[in-house]
Symmetry: C2
Subunit: 385 residues, 2 copies
């Protein structure tokens, strides 16, 4: 179901040969209303793909009729020809749907630098086919069409009293979103205006996708889009809607983490008693990006020294000699010195919990990351993506 | 020869069982004068090992009589017991040499959290043995005693008209110095005062060790020490001395890069036409720390898209659509679009050259890094260090 779970949406996923596997590679999600509200957040990478540049303009007025997504090519750094491809895709969709091209979002994912004449022809064909096939049962096919190195499609649905939120996501590498992540499309039939949709989306992504840092590499094509049909006729409170949206976003973030390229551990880094939430995030992210720590987790080695060395590179408030570190429930470092022996820690489960107690304040934050494995190196050296 | 090449220095390296291999693990370098000038730069990691905390006090007055170094344990996060071990080591050396403990520097390297009673006893024994054996031919043994995962000892000598500089270094992992790197001891028989030694050392490390970023992980124990005996009786100009010192530092930085754990490529990232040197360093370092770029180099994949994605995360002045990227002499990206085909680039040699032309100014900087390999993951997951 995914994006077609809420009332008022149609979707499809079709295969036009952008993927060498022959699998689905172009998806469309259409908002049939009555509302045509949209909100989106984008990668903060200054090197932005053509679809990002286009979509940032489209979202300005808070109106979105449809979104077209393709895998098999990022259309990033493909020059003015690539931008025209994005523009033509929106024009094609608009023409077929009888709407304005300025209300059609575009997303692409795949190899940077990929976006030639063949790519353009296939994307335009896919857009035409997808719109022709779009229906209320197309959510699953759409979620499969945006997969790249993903081993499984990511979907999420939350149902409340009379209204619901549906969503799909792709992502398995370059997972270090800054303000957004990967390709995510979220739909809802709740009644919201553009400002409410934008506020709820930013609040939800801020503590879900933005806290996922699998490999420290920020993508050029990240986009999270929320489309609002209002077809339920129900207007939830801002608190209720944001809470439900945050639940969907965190569910998808966990799915992205669980499917990260080559990973053998899903590491939850919980930083507590920080002076501020920013400090907690900085500490968690620094540890999440430390290759030595990540390789140690792969080796089931509770190497807390690498954790402290990573914390030491931050500007966060802490006393190096008053920090506690726990791994999977065992305190391995107390007050900046050794505590339980390494043998006491079992790091064999995929789910790994690292708790860092900074002992200076009341703020907390949780960062999601993965370990650094042979398979990560293999996937990212043997295949261009 | 290394640190005993210049006149006025004695050194030794002895084995006391800190290394399970039974190889040399404690080194000493003694300045016999007539000058006893010293300068040092330290890791900027806020999580500092006990020897760093001690040495930062010792160097305040610009006088250094001797330095004691051990491998086989970092004596970092070992509590007050660990600090007392460092203090006792300096006291022991001072007593045997008839000098003040406040003029004896200490360096340690090895596993963080390692520094118990057995460690202390071995370090004290090693200090005693090394001082007893110290002589003008001890430079090689000293350079071997500070090795950890290094596959070879790192030494460098520069000879000028009547004076010389000798040096030794260790380092193969956690290579992302901030103001310093690894353990490095440099000696000279030129005549300099403490302020001149300090200025020359900072100028030289700033563009050598500080530009090395092998794996993005900053150590807790980095220290670069310069010891001045003045035994040649010759006073070079500040320019001549700094130029010679910079040559030694860059030579050692290249040796560290060439021996980085598990690396199969030595990557020189040259950033040109940047708006400022800081911008050039930021861009080079961002690329050097991008795991996807590093894995691509391991796979001999000229993936310039990952280079641009890394540049896009910086605050440096540049236009994403006016950047050129060259790999091993082939321009693979022009003005933010594809140029020469990937087949045109030969990435099989270990020496790899990445040139990034930002086209906005006149500043330049070169960052040295390595690729991300299966062997890096293996070495840092299978062994605790």
């Amino acid at each position: 179901m995914s994006v077609t779970a809420p009332k008022g949406f149609e979707a499809a996923g079709v295969a036009v040969g952008l993927k060498s596997s022959g699998k689905e590679d172009v998806a469309v999600v259409i908002n049939r209303g009555p509302l045509k509200v949209g909100a989106a957040v984008f990668t903060s990478n200054r090197a932005k793909a053509n679809p990002i540049i286009w979509s940032q303009q489209v979202i300005q007025d808070g109106t979105v009729e449809a979104i077209v997504l393709n895998s098999g090519g990022a259309n990033c750094f493909t020059g003015s020809f690539g931008f025209q491809t994005t523009h033509q895709t929106a024009e094609k969709a608009a023409e077929l749907l009888g709407v304005s091209a300025g209300d059609v979002l575009i997303c692409s994912t795949g190899l940077i630098g990929m976006g030639d004449e063949v790519f353009r022809a296939k994307v335009l064909t896919g857009t035409e086919q997808a719109i022709a096939q779009a229906g209320g049962d197309g959510g699953v096919a759409a979620s499969e069409a945006i997969m790249t190195t993903d081993s499984k499609a990511k979907r999420s649905i939350v149902t409340r009293d009379g209204w619901s939120i549906g969503a799909m996501a792709k992502g398995a590498g370059m997972l270090a979103p800054g303000l957004a992540t990967m390709l995510v499309v979220i739909t809802t039939d709740a009644v919201l205006d553009a400002a409410e949709a934008d506020a709820a989306l930013r609040a939800s992504t801020n503590r879900s996708f933005d806290r996922l840092d699998s490999d420290g590499c920020m993508s050029t094509n990240d986009q999270v889009t929320l489309m609002v049909s209002g077809a339920s006729g129900i207007t939830p409170t801002a608190e209720d809607f944001t809470e439900a949206l945050a639940e969907v976003c965190l569910d998808l973030a966990r799915q992205l983490q669980a499917d990260a390229e080559g990973a053998s551990h899903d590491v939850t880094i919980e930083v507590v008693h920080a002076a501020s939430e920013d400090d907690a995030v900085e500490v968690g992210r620094s540890v999440a990006r430390n290759n030595l720590f990540k390789a140690a987790i792969f080796g089931n080695d509770p190497n807390w020294g690498r954790v402290l060395a990573a914390i030491g590179t931050t500007d966060a408030a802490f006393d190096p000699y008053d920090v506690d570190v726990w791994m999977n429930g065992v305190r391995v470092c107390t007050a900046g010195g050794p505590d339980a022996p390494r043998e006491a820690v079992d790091l064999t489960p995929r789910a790994t919990h690292l708790l860092i107690d900074l002992k200076v304040g009341d703020a907390t934050a949780t960062i999601l990351t993965n370990d650094l494995t042979h398979d990560y190196v293999h996937e990212n050296s043997a295949y261009s993506s």
